[in-house]
């Protein structure tokens, strides 16, 4: 098991190889980061399908901008910022397209249909009432375990704003779901 420093050095070598045009090096970067990238964009967009689109778009932007990346910086932080921007772009495009309608239900493949219950459906609906950033913050924090600082860096907002968004998102969800939660 490599130490974090060894891991960072190995990744730096892969990034440099990718910058020199080695396709297999870029594939390795995709393999290393795609799960985390998916988690970030999934926190921002409303559906699994949009998350897949945003991840692909994010990696395309990263590939095009790779020669501008300085290898002494943490690659993950740089990539995840690009991912968040790709997801936010997609949300903006969807808002323009679907200005008049919100989806009644969001298709969720890879889920056990037996899992679906009233709380799940109501939660899905309640999440659409949060702002995009509030939704991203609560999911990144409570589901993915990001710290406020990591959320701030990824979304390009101050840490205090991430804290405040988290507070407001939780309060809104409590309010929207108070009638169905088993715990008062």
């Amino acid at each position: 098991m490599p130490t974090p420093a060894e891991g960072a050095a190995a990744e730096r070598a892969i990034v440099v190889a990718a910058q020199r045009g080695a396709d297999d090096a870029f594939s390795a970067l995709v393999r290393i980061h795609q799960r985390r990238a998916y988690a970030i964009v999934r926190a921002i967009v409303l559906s699994h399908e949009d998350a897949e689109d945003a991840v692909q778009e994010g990696f395309l932007h990263a590939h095009r901008a790779l020669d501008r990346f300085r290898p002494d910086q943490p690659f993950g932080a740089w990539l995840y910022r690009i991912m968040a921007n790709a997801a936010l772009d997609l949300v903006r495009r969807r808002k323009v397209r679907d200005a008049d309608e919100l989806p009644e239900s969001i298709p969720m493949p890879f889920r056990d249909p037996a899992e679906s219950g009233e709380l799940r459906e109501r939660l899905q609906e309640a999440l659409t009432h949060l702002t995009t950033r509030q939704r991203a913050v609560i999911v990144m924090h409570d589901v993915e375990g990001f710290t406020h600082g990591e959320i701030g860096r990824t979304l390009g907002i101050p840490e205090g704003t991430a804290r405040s968004d988290l507070h407001h998102a939780r309060a809104a969800l409590r309010r929207l779901l108070q009638d169905i939660r088993s715990t008062p």
Binding site: V30, H63, R64, V143, R170, R181
Partner: protein, 120 residues
């Protein structure tokens, strides 16, 4: 229940959030997504290259067209200037003839009038 903290009573909600946002766990899903990402990147780069090549090919044509438009504009401006100059010159020239003729006419008329008055 306090609204300042995410209390233990909210565990149900957190669990529901985690279930809703859980990423696919199957390895083959991630293998397939990786392949799709790489294909998307390759397509995007091809598109960018195609566009770049097209721009390379089109650039001399665009430069020639811009030069042509510039030359045509200059020629048009010059011909307008020449037209304006000749129109101005004709306007300046015209009053002298009119003036002369009108002066002649007025002198003649004056003479006639004086002759008429003196003859009475």
């Amino acid at each position: 229940m306090t609204h300042d903290r995410w209390t233990s009573g909210d565990a149900e909600l957190t669990n529901a959030l985690r279930a809703l946002y859980a990423a696919p766990t199957e390895e083959r899903y991630w293998d397939a997504l990786e392949a799709r990402i790489l294909a998307h990147v390759a397509r995007g780069d091809e598109g960018a290259m195609w566009w770049g090549e097209l721009m390379e090919m089109v650039r001399p044509g665009l430069v020639a067209a811009a030069a042509l438009i510039l030359a045509a504009t200059l020629a048009m401006v010059r011909s307008q200037q020449i037209e304006a100059r000749s129109a101005y010159a004709s306007v300046i020239a015209a009053p002298s003839t009119l003036e002369a003729s009108s002066r002649g006419a007025s002198v003649g008329d004056g003479d006639v009038a004086i002759h008429y008055l003196l003859s009475r």
